[in-house]
Amino acid sequence: MPEPLLSVHGLVTGYGPNAVVEQVDLSLCPGESVALLGVNGAGKTTLVSTIAGLNPLWSGSMTFRGDTVTKAGPEARATMGISLCPEGRQIFTSLTVEENLLIGATPSRRRRPAATAAQVQERLARSYERFPILKERRHGGGGQLSGGEQQMLAIARALMSAPELLMVDEPSMGLAPAVASTVYGLLRELKREGLAMIVVEESSNRALGLVDQCIVLRGGRSVLSAPVGELPDHATLLEVYLGSSTSEEVTS
């Protein structure tokens, strides 16, 4: 058993007085990927934001590459190799496409040597190779791109820090099926290259086709955590775990 890249134990977090995620455990080895599924409001986005450091942990602990990062802020975690491609893409519309990419190249100082200007240029070239459309639009505004292009830019930006863990929040949200397939094709490529990933989706066969493990959240709790090969069939998954045919209330 290799040492886990990311290890989360008993994570509890929330907003104001309300706990949104409770007692979630998650462990990920280098190169491994996990799908985080659940209905709207199940706590998926809150969980990945917390792993990225945007929300404080109320209790529980988290280590990354063996280092305890429970109290580290998002800036520190970004420089350590955790990258979140946030919900709604959050492209900087006042920056050009290229500037969006450049801002993603975090000057890593903690634990990793800072990216040199040459490395940044190399990563930029790699992004353009991966996404020719971004090269074409590189001097245009980030807000001028279509939804699919924005998603690609968001992923490309998240990759500019050369992360070891990439978290993608609802990569197919609002995209036409063909475009979503393109995005997943890219995620598969990244997985082949050995990048560890957490992919958040409401419910998606696409996500399950990509990952090694699956965690289903409901009401902020993990109700299923299993390798993809051991998952129940899709209909059962939907009915029992995503609660699609139940009227059970979901806390948000």
Binding site: L54, A78, S83, Q90, F92, T93, T96, G141, S161
Partner: protein, 295 residues
């Protein structure tokens, strides 16, 4: 034609000051959502520093850098100790705190320096007026325009060509997402107050060299000019601030030279009327959309 050129020159000179002022306000507005109504009073304190430094016998070449350092220190101190503690949750509380700070700064200045106007150091060389083909322009105005051009160019390079500038713009748009790219909002707030401090220091020197004297209550006029230029240009847009500053400068110069003598007293009021008309026609200000670089 000469009249028109004269108005252009006057407007250029006024506009450079107003552009810098509006930029100073917009820098902090961008990252903190604060329109700092104490900006003018901070500039007045900086001007008093220059007066004091001169009165202890320092020559101008020493006064200028010390004044700039003092201005940056004051700006960062105020940012760190006053505004950052209030937090960004409620922009209204920041605004109220800035009003409060303005009152405190004025009252303190009255206590320390008295109500009387103090002479501001101004080298005679800068007060000479050049005359070319019937056009008049003072050396100070030329210096004003040149300094503004240098600062505007430097800021443009900083904002558009450096990682720090990118980080500042990204934070102004979406601080939460910028944090994911390892950009600390705290550092960006400090940076914006530092830039504002430099601008404030430069304005303190140029503005009061032109006016000739400084009083504890000189700040309101500066704040108002900065605020008008900012609103004309569109809040939060650096290019808008510059455009708004020059628009206000040219409008004032035109009103000053073309208004009938009887109405000159209304010049300030008429400038506001122009602002109101402009905002009715274009509520987002001139540069309200220029913030988006692609448009």
């Amino acid at each position: 034609m000469t009249g028109f050129l004269q108005v252009f020159l006057d407007g250029l000179s006024l506009g450079s000051s107003y552009s810098l002022l509006a930029l100073g306000l917009t820098m902090v507005f961008g990252v903190l959502g604060l329109v700092n109504f104490a900006f003018g009073d901070m500039i007045v304190w900086t001007a008093f520093l220059a007066v004091e430094l001169t009165s202890i016998g320092l020559p101008l070449p020493a006064v200028i850098p010390l004044t700039l350092v003092g201005s940056v220190a004051l700006s960062m101190f105020v940012g760190e100790v006053v505004f950052r503690r209030v937090g960004t949750q409620n922009p209204l509380s920041l605004l109220l705190v800035s009003f409060g700070l303005s009152l405190v700064l004025v009252a303190l200045a009255v206590q320390v320096f008295g109500e009387l106007a103090l002479m501001f150091p101004s080298p005679t060389a800068l007060n000479t007026v050049l005359q070319v083909d019937g056009l008049q322009i003072s050396m100070l105005s030329l210096v004003n325009v040149a300094v503004a051009a240098v600062i505007l160019a430097a800021l443009f390079v900083l904002l558009n060509r450096s990682r720090l500038g990118l980080a500042l713009r990204a934070t102004a748009e979406n601080a939460r997402t910028a944090r994911l790219m390892a950009v600390r909002p705290k550092s960006m707030v400090r940076l914006s107050f530092a830039i504002t401090g430099v601008i404030g220091g430069v304005i303190a020197l140029l503005w009061f060299m032109k006016v000739g004297t400084v009083t504890p209550r000189s700040g309101l006029d500066i704040t108002l000019k900065a605020f008008i230029a900012l609103v004309i240009g569109g809040l939060g847009s650096a290019r808008g601030a510059v455009a708004g500053g020059f628009a206000l400068g040219f409008a004032e110069a035109a009103l000053a030279s073309w208004l009938p003598v009887d109405l000159r007293g209304l010049q300030q009021a008429l400038a506001f009327v122009v602002v109101v008309i402009l905002l009715v026609l274009r509520p987002q200000g001139i540069g309200g959309r220029l913030l988006d670089v692609s448009r």
